[in-house]
Amino acid sequence: MNTIKLYLHSMAILIKSQMQYPVSFLLQTIAQLIMEGGEFLAVLLIVDRFDILGRWMPGDLYFFFGMMSVSFYLTECFGRGVTGNFPMLVRTGQLDTMLLRPRGVLTQVLCSAIDPRRITCIAVGVLALILGSRMSMIQWTVWKVLAFAEALLMSMLLILGLFLIEAVFCIYSVKSVELVNALTYGGRSACQYPVDIYPRPLRAMFTMLAPFAMTLHVPAAWILGKPLYGWPTWTVFVCLLSGLVVFGVVYVLFGHALRHYRSTGS
């Protein structure tokens, strides 16, 4: 409980400090809007030219896009310490001070940064979700809402876990590792479209290694009434847990890596 209070308190302070440069903040927020708006524009233009993607209708595609964009940018907003700043913490040796304090390292890293600019990205995602839900005429039920909420939560854990892999590499190699971007940003780009359109190797990668298919596509397809691979309903709530599994495994690795941490010095 105390940890959550600490986190919220840090967030309040960080937001206050970012608001000290209002014009810069505004410009950066608009830049984020252009970025995510551009991504969404790409989907709209694809729909304009191709109408369908496999068995998916335009509304379905918007819904998938919205799910990915909301969960990805919520993670980038509230998990900024892991998704953005960690390599810098290692390189500059700021991580050392965190090791001294009587709190978990991950807690402190998460408390160290927030990225409120992402709010516009999340807004674009929400817009896509509403549009998709309307066009695909989703009949919302309590179970569907539950699956939706769980899918967002699990995807956020998954994304945080994937970024944490980069942090683990970073502890060993000091430099940030671009390779992991293939999983994180690559996953975002690939999995804003349903996974069943991809050839087998990519499908395997995003089902087993970075299971966006499990945390996003299985529930989203079920909500849309077109279950992925025709899997039964109970699988939806089980598959989702893979987000928790990935995060758990990487969290253990992260703890292990921290024991091997050698400061960069100075």
Binding site: G38, A42, R49, I197
Partner: protein, 265 residues
């Protein structure tokens, strides 16, 4: 005399860019995955609704965009830092034009940075089966036009980059404006979605914009979307934009120097 100085700045930065070969490898693998994802996506789309333009053209477009990714999106991080800290004052002392100095640097960084990544990526793309990888240029003449277009595109993107930096010097905010212009560049240069797949009604306008001159124009020549007979017009448009953007950049930097306020103490 001056040209010799700029040439040596260019050479030095070329060599500097060559130093971090290890770091490049991770970036290349990442970009390869992106390329594969995009080609798979367009193949799936084509399976549902075949288009007039063959899929080979689209996959070639994707690979060339990915291979030269670094040309579009990379900036002189030193310069942004120097503007923020005020160290740019030291560069003012040099007996060279500030614009020329940074133009030579960014040109070197962009050309070497993209060359280093493009060669292995294109070799990989050549090994992929037809319709997945990159096709050969439609004709030797088209290839020659492509290379020429690519060089003009490099000069054009460097001029654009210097305008972005000129604006940063005024606003002292490297993140806001720079991020915005870079994102516009990603969208309008065909990195997010090939410009050839934009609605047909938009093509006239979108190919005339400066952002289309970086990579889109040369790629269209390579794939034969634009015939060799149309090449002179396309190359001329590229060159015209490059001249205009360079002119705007020089004027901007000159006026910046006149009302110069240095950060820091």
């Amino acid at each position: 005399m001056r040209t010799k100085a700029y040439a040596s700045i260019f050479r030095m930065n070329w060599k500097l860019e060559l130093q971090y070969r290890g770091a490049v490898l991770g970036g290349i693998i990442c970009q390869l995955v992106f390329g594969l994802i995009l080609v798979s996506l367009y193949r799936a789309l084509y399976a549902g609704r075949p288009q007039v333009m063959p899929i080979e053209t689209v996959s070639t477009y994707v690979w060339l965009q990915q291979a030269f990714f670094r040309m579009v999106l990379s900036s002189d991080s030193d310069l942004a830092g120097k503007i923020r800290t005020g160290d740019i004052a030291y560069d003012l002392v040099r007996p060279l034009s500030l614009y020329g100095y940074y133009y030579a640097r960014i040109l070197a960084q962009k050309s070497m940075g993209s060359l280093l990544r493009a060669v292995p990526m294109l070799v990989f793309a050549l090994c992929l089966p037809r319709g997945w990888g990159i096709m050969a240029p439609v004709s030797p003449a088209a290839f020659a036009c492509f290379l020429l277009g690519l060089m003009i595109g490099l000069c054009c993107v460097s001029a654009l980059e210097n305008i972005t930096m000129g604006i940063t010097m005024r606003t002292l905010d490297p993140k806001g404006i720079q991020a915005m212009l870079n994102l516009l560049m990603m969208i309008l240069s065909g990195n997010v979605l090939p410009l050839t797949l934009y609605p047909d009604a938009w093509q006239k306008v979108i190919t005339a914009l400066p952002y289309a001159q970086l990579l889109d124009a040369p790629i269209r020549l390579y794939t034969g979307t634009r015939q060799v007979a149309e090449a002179p017009g396309a190359l001329l448009l590229q060159a015209a934009w490059t001249v205009v953007l360079t002119g705007v950049g020089i004027a901007l930097w000159k006026s910046n120097q006149r009302r110069l306020v240095i950060q820091g103490g």
